[in-house]
Amino acid sequence: MSRQPMTSMERVMTAITHKEPDRVPLFLLLSLYGAKELGMTVEEYFNKAENVVAAQRAMREKFQNDCYYTFFYASIETEAFGSESFFVENGPPNAGVPILDTIEDVFHLEPPEISESPGLKRVLRATEMLKERVGNEVPIIGVAMSPFSLPVMQIGFEKYLEMIYFRKEAFDRLMKVNEAFCVAWANAQLAAGATAICYFDPLASPTVIEKEVYMRTGNVVAKRTIAKIRGATATHLASGLTLPVVHEIAQTGTAVLGFGSADDPVALKKEAEGRVCLIGNLNGLEMVHWTREQARQTVKTVIEQCGKGGGFILSDGHGEVPWQVSEETLLAVSEAVRLYGTYPLK
């Protein structure tokens, strides 16, 4: 007897509560890919909320995606602090010169007003428009950079590491500013209609910062920040190793955890079970060269490894599908989810 298919919202909410929905939810995290969909340059595309809304709706229809993704690009947040973004062809914009020249500048930094940032206002407008159109049928996923990871764009990695290791008072000051901004930004997106916030925190990965240092810095920051965000969060480490910190990240109060292709999915599933829902882990760069068969096999394998009992959403492992991945590959991934991800799993 066939069951009535769930809506995307029901499917995702069931998976997040560690139960089996009708099938494994699919989150193709398509951001700048929308520019390709509409035949525009990346800069032109992100200049209007209406473009993002139109592309998100068209791509969901085409790929049977289970979410809308209102992430524009990471440096849109540092634009709010006064820096520039550099647009390139067929890829995400790069953050420009850091707004903080020296570590001492941290003591003069204040959190910007969301309402005064044209870029952030466009994201909020896109979120509102999507919410008006879809109501509660499809989750809308917003993004906020974690206060702990944002400084890589604000001051550069090298000076930030000096702060983490040797300048505690400057580090604490920067976290205070960034936490206020992150909470305001995440809550503004939730108020505009986002269902959940993806809390991007690449520096939480032991690939980037050793666990012992993360535990007394970024983990404490995440606990404080996530407690003030008025909605569900999904923490994403953008391809960094996740397994060694899965328990610690689950304890920050986040509901979902992103993982990449470097992690061991079987070990991760065991550690995450009942604690945090997993989202991952297709390798976006390998997807550029996949055949249809490779797409099917990879999806099949990861569903076998992580799908049982729910608590799993299929996605890429980085948080953004590259422009260079073909539509055929995305369609093959989408078909494979329906073929191999229907519960009960075979």
């Binding site: 550099f86 390139v88 995400p92 990695f157 290791y165 690939t207 760069l285 390998e286």
Partner: protein, 216 residues
């Protein structure tokens, strides 16, 4: 008295703890005893190599790799003039960040090479292929190290190679950075001569591509 292996362990541990004072104390003690650069290089490169291998295994962080390199670079910069030891007679090497502006990877590799006594010209960040070609030819560079963070920047290496070919200038290109780690065949597809998975891989690649010229 401690043997070399024990010293290597102590130095590596001090680096991994980002303990500048202890690392400097071990290093200075050792350089006072050693009259030649080779054993000093073995201490520094040996430790950084081990740290690079541990990063590959996921047991140390990128931050530890970077900070270790910086500490060693500072120590070598202090040691070479005092010891009146020249840097190596190596191929002419330059490093550049193509398009991107996140320079951590480039700085790690530069620190490692300088800590091992190499001269490395740093061409800078956010550079176009045209600018890199211009600087490379002007400085008569033999080995060019290209660092990238973004995939779309990694793809630009192909354009860079094409411009060198059109200029008729022969240079060995070694690429590194996240896109080349995540897609193992990418270095070859974009026309590089080699891809470096970790910063310390660069020593073997220099040996291989530099025909061993002054590189040990």
């Amino acid at each position: 008295m401690k043997g070399f292996e024990d010293l290597l362990d102590d130095f590596e541990n001090a680096l991994l703890k980002i303990d500048r004072i202890n690392a400097a104390s071990i290093f200075r003690g050792f350089t006072q005893e050693s009259k030649e650069f080779h054993p000093v290089e073995q201490l520094v490169v040996g430790s950084l190599d081990r740290i690079g291998e541990k990063w590959e295994l996921g047991t140390v962080s990128l931050a530890q790799v970077y900070m270790s390199g910086r500490i060693c670079e500072e120590l070598i910069d202090e040691y070479l003039p005092k010891a009146k030891v020249n840097r190596k007679d190596s191929p002419r090497i330059a490093i550049a960040l193509l398009i991107d502006r996140h320079a951590l990877g480039k700085k790690i590799v530069t620190s490692l090479l300088r800590a091992a006594g190499y001269e490395v010209a740093d061409f800078g960040d956010g550079l176009t292929p045209e600018r890199i070609v211009e600087k490379t030819i002007e400085s008569r560079i033999e080995i060019l190290l290209i660092s990238t963070l973004m995939y779309v920047s990694a793809l630009k290496v192909e354009e860079l190679r094409g411009q060198f070919d059109r200029e008729g200038y022969r240079v060995k290109i070694i690429v590194g950075g996240a896109p080349f780690r995540l897609d193992e065949g990418l270095w070859e597809r974009v026309g590089a001569d080699a891809g470096s998975r970790t910063a310390s891989d660069v020593f073997d690649l220099l040996e291989y591509l530099g025909d061993g010229k002054g590189v040990s």
